[in-house]
Symmetry: C2
Subunit: 214 residues, 2 copies
DNA sequence: CTCCATCGTTACTGCTGGTAACCACAGTCT
DNA sequence: AGACTGTGGTTACCAGCAGTAACGATGGAG
């Protein structure tokens, strides 16, 4: 026990874990979110049971894998949210940061949006809600906090802020996903249009001549 | 061929198909979106190959199953969108209709939000985008059309309208999913907060005293 | 020399979506 | 009557998946 004290053992184990995560990342980016444990183990040059000893089950591996990217994206967004500029510019910057992230690495985006496991096989409990990816929940909650901190929404401001947080994140996600699939316009145009929407253009815009109006 | 002319055969086949879909619906609502073909066949009192003869593969069955609900929800939303009231009331009514739908039957909601199949096993093509459920795409496109029809957005109004459509639908979905999971407030409060957000309160609200403002 | 803990393996279970091959019965043609 | 064909149904299988049990090395400690 002299040559390999527990310190070093632990360091080696963590290094091993990092290697496994990198291999898993390579496979997931290559084969999509449906990559098999067998494939990941093969990529890492080992066999399945080792993976299971390290991460418990597939969900554990995927959670560990997702955490890094989630943290990174969240950091970038926080920076954009804290930039020294007026509110409108800051909102635009945040939207653009998100869109740039999903644009430069759609595979990672696709993986992150995976709403956990479909078959957690026996969940007969009544938690029917929560379909969204954990990333979106975290983003919404975070943005809600920021809004609550910085803006005075009066009566029950905290509740309103959380609603807005999740709503804005949902808008960003929905529009971003559609945009990423069809690429109907440039990123800048998308950002401007979304900021316009958030700035209340929907209420101030004129009805068309005919029809019941919107 | 006299006693069972082709007409009657076809009618019988369609009736059979409807029965199968009903059985599938029962199972999916009981076991969640991960229900197995075996279970569905058993519920219908038959065996797997018959299911495959009728629907091709699991995706086909689920698509057929989803279409009914999607159409129903889309119809309700269209009605709310066409209601004779001023714009703000109409937006609130539409949001409330959506939320009421997912509230009264969360299992159906969960099923509908399933983004197609994860393992269409070999799709090495580069269609990395489109993660969202087809329902959301349809809703966003539909809303975009409505906005474009009824509102004058000036230069490139069609493009802007589509962005807004998908953005608003995303907002509705994101906030709705979070709300359905945590139930932090009443449906009416959620509707009001979201409508406020769309009405530009984010731009007009006052900064808090301290901090950089939002 | 023996014991023990760790790292790794092979080989399996039970499930899934999907299919091939077969069976039985209806009505038609000769 | 008896052979022919199509249609609805079955059993029995395949490949691949997540996950696990049981066994083999290897190397330091007593």
């Amino acid at each position: 026990m002299e040559t390999t004290p527990q310190r070093e053992q632990k360091r080696a184990a963590e290094q091993r874990r990092r290697d496994l995560l990198e291999a898993a990342e390579r496979v997931v980016l290559r084969d999509g979110p449906g990559a098999s444990m067998n494939a990941i183990a093969a990529e890492a040059g080992i066999t399945k049971p080792i993976l299971y000893r390290h991460f418990g089950d597939k969900g554990g591996l995927y959670r560990a894998l997702a955490k890094r990217h989630t943290d990174a994206l969240l950091g970038a967004l926080r920076a954009a949210l804290d930039a020294p500029a007026e509110r409108r510019r800051r909102v635009e910057g945040t939207l653009d940061t998100y869109l740039a992230a999903i644009e430069t690495n759609p595979q990672v985006y696709r993986f992150l949006m995976h709403p956990a496991e479909d078959p957690p096989p026996l969940d007969r409990n009544f938690d029917v809600g929560r379909h969204s990816a954990p990333l979106l929940r975290r983003l919404g909650e975070e943005l809600g906090k920021v809004i609550e901190e910085r803006v005075d929404l009066g009566e029950d401001g905290a509740g309103r802020a959380r609603i807005w947080g999740h709503g804005i994140v949902g808008m960003m996600h929905g529009a971003g996903d559609w945009w990423l699939g069809e690429r109907p316009c440039s990123r800048a145009e998308l950002v401007t249009a979304m900021a316009d929407l958030l700035w209340g253009r929907l209420s101030s815009v004129e009805d068309r001549a005919e029809g019941p109006g919107f």
